[in-house]
């Protein structure tokens, strides 16, 4: 007889799933310490960028990444030139995966473990076709079948478990984290690399600009990303992202791995209201938050920090503030909330994973990163903001919101590991 776990919670264990490795590529640095330093110092990664041949505007600004770190030695069959020969998107995906595996100390053990890979990549094909097109290629007009990046990277890094790409627009990498956690809880893998990232591209910049979603404050790029501020006028695009190694706590403890924190709760829902605009009714977004708290078995009073999705759009920030108020109830006045997109820009597919790094940074340094440029909080966004400078305080339990086109809502609860 073969024992089969059914698809309800029966057969799903509740052992904590913890983060034991981090790899990142971001406008604020590429290591956990560098990113933490930047976030708590209130540095911005937003600046003017070369508008390029196909720019929507003559003065373009974004939170761009300069130089993607090559994978550490012993993880990939690449030398420096081999890595340099990859496309920018391939580099942006491979680098954080490889660094996360190395950081977790799993490099030498890959052959003996079922290591899954879940990447949140919302527009992989669009970016691949665009990069090829801009380099003079014609793949978009007459494509040949190619493996998606998740399978290429799994082979390159020699990860032998399931490999899946997921997409929920700006919440993509958070859904990847949620899915990897479920695989560990079901016992399908021994470890799982999860996360996601994105790259700046002329098409995406133009499309978001034409959608009137981007800030037009081109005279002062550093002030352009201003979530929750009365004078916000859209988001600033960024690039990069992060990947994590997830393991069950017992596995991590048994091998004496560094534990950055626990991915303690997940909540997901859909607005089912509009493909682009956030729903003004906060019911579903709040449901994702309350689901995540319940999954983590914590109350709103126990939350020490909320990393908001808040990208700086007039409608989105107000809608999220309403959802946070609804979900946290009377505790909302005591829970600090900030948006690190004010510093990193909006990493789109990579945003949720990068903001999970921000939560881990808050736990590691016992301080809440600020919302830059929050000079005049919008009365429609009444929360316990952390404007301009970091706030020192005890941080054990954090929640991170992510929302995406198509009405996707996600909340992750990340807390100090027991």
């Amino acid at each position: 007889m073969i024992v089969i776990a059914r698809t309800s919670s029966v057969g799903i264990d509740r052992e904590p799933v913890v983060i034991t490795g981090i790899g990142a590529v971001s406008p604020l640095g590429h290591s956990f310490d560098a990113i933490t330093d930047s976030l708590l110092a209130g540095r911005t990664g937003v600046r003017s960028i070369d508008p390029g041949e196909f720019a929507r505007e003559s003065h373009q600004f974004a939170a761009a990444v300069d130089g993607i770190p090559a994978p550490p030695a012993g993880i990939c069959p690449f030398d420096v030139q081999g890595f340099a020969d990859l496309t920018r998107l391939e580099q942006m995906v491979l680098s954080p995966v490889a660094h996360a595996v190395a950081d977790a100390g799993l490099g030498p053990h890959r052959d003996r473990l079922r290591i899954g890979l879940v990447l949140g990549l919302g527009a992989e094909q669009l970016k691949r076709w665009e990069l090829d097109f801009l380099a003079g290629g014609t793949q978009v007009f007459a494509p040949s079948p190619t493996d998606t990046l998740v399978h290429q990277v799994a082979r390159t890094v020699n990860l032998c478990g399931p490999a899946v790409t997921v997409a929920a627009a700006c919440a993509s990498s958070g859904y990847a984290m949620a899915l990897g956690r479920s695989w560990l809880s079901a016992g399908w893998v021994d470890a799982c690399v999860v996360g996601g990232c994105d790259v700046l591209s002329p098409t995406a910049l133009a499309a978001f600009y034409n959608l009137r979603a981007l800030s037009r404050r081109s005279d002062d790029p550093a002030k352009a990303s201003r979530p929750f501020d009365r004078d916000r006028d859209g988001f600033v695009m960024g690039e990069g992202g992060a990947c994590f190694v997830l393991e069950r706590l017992s596995t991590a403890r048994a091998r004496d791995a560094r534990v950055y924190g626990e991915l303690a709760g997940v909540g997901v829902s859909s607005d089912a209201a509009h493909m682009v605009s956030p729903c003004s009714d906060p019911t579903q977004a709040a449901r994702a938050i309350t689901q995540a708290l319940a999954d983590a078995q914590v109350t709103a009073d126990e939350i020490d920090y909320v990393n908001a999705h808040a990208a700086g759009t007039p409608v989105g920030d107000a809608a999220e503030a309403g959802a946070i108020r609804r979900a946290l109830g009377s505790a909302v006045d005591r829970v600090p909330v900030s948006s690190t997109k004010s510093m990193s820009g909006h990493l789109v597919s990579g945003a949720a994973a990068f903001e999970a790094v921000a939560c881990l940074a808050a736990i590691a340094r016992q301080a809440v990163p600020p919302t830059l440029n929050l000079d005049n909080p919008d009365p429609q966004c009444q929360l316990d903001h952390v404007p301009l400078v970091a706030r020192e305080r005890s941080v054990k339990v954090t929640a991170s919101n992510s929302f995406g086109f198509g009405g996707a809502n996600l909340c992750l609860v990340i807390r100090e590991a027991a």
């Binding site: 007889m1 073969i2 024992v3 089969i4 776990a5 059914r6 698809t7 309800s8 057969g11 799903i12 196909f54 929507r56 003996r112 473990l113 919302g122 527009a123 094909q125 669009l126 076709w129 665009e130 097109f133 978009v140 007009f141 494509p143 079948p145 998606t148 399978h151 032998c160 478990g161 399931p162 997921v166 997409a167 929920a168 627009a169 859904y175 899915l179 956690r181 479920s182 695989w183 079901a186 016992g187 399908w188 098409t203 133009a206 499309a207 978001f208 034409n210 959608l211 009137r212 997940v266 997901v268 859909s270 607005d271 493909m275 682009v276 579903q284 086109f405 198509g406 009405g407 996707a408």
Partner: protein, 299 residues
Amino acid sequence: MHGSIPKAEALSAACGVASHALVEATLAEIPGLRDCSVPEGVSALPPRFLRHCDEQTVVGMQAVLAAIAAHPEPRPSFTSYGVVAAACQSGRIATAQSLAMLRTAGGVAVSPHIVPQCSLHSVAGAVSVALGMHGPNIGASGGQHAVSEGLFTSLSLLAADSALPGIWLVVSSWTQEPSLDAAGKPECSPPQDACSGPICRALAVALTADADAAADKGISRRLTLLMPAAIRMARPAAHDQTAADEILDFARGLAAGPAASWSHACPWGAEIRLAPHAAVSFASGSQAASRGIPQREAA
């Protein structure tokens, strides 16, 4: 007894299969599908909802509507269902047209719909919005392994969330990618080639979380995931079948009748089987049964 368990099948999950529908359309037929009629009891789609959608969203939506119409009565409310849509190279025609416009007219000419309507999340988002489904909506795969990744993601979500009653799985692909001219327009333009050339294929499947209770509601089959317990999993570098082939194979398995079986091998060594409920027996009195865990006779 457990000593006879094949190592390759030690861990798994299962769900019920309530209904399905396969829809195929040529390039020439797709414009006519952008105005949807909905089954009785389903709210009409918002006006012109599919106007800017990618072709795979249009055909995928039609597949979901057809599967709803085919669902056994009493048809449940799908309000709390999730949506997983695994598309293969979706959004390519719109992307080609955007890139062509970018080159000739600059960024001002890029469509604002390209990201929300023609990305990997777009099929799932559109189904969720159009049909009022508040469970998670997720795109998956984007490539040749759409069936594997779509099924695996669906089973993962159902396993993780005991409150999720079901998932609409949509898998879609072109049978052959339309060849495009320099402006991104399909070269086999309708109506001359209306009956030949590339076909957009989408399969929608209603998956129910509670595989056992489903049997009482006229749902006769279940999908079972068998995960390899071996330390090293298979990962073939090449893939023989296209996504469109695999979708058709899955659809034929679903259409073969309640007694038929079908199986699908994932590239990481897992196997997903479609089988009648009769193939699953309950070991009454055993520890597994007392926890509500069904057991299946070893193959």
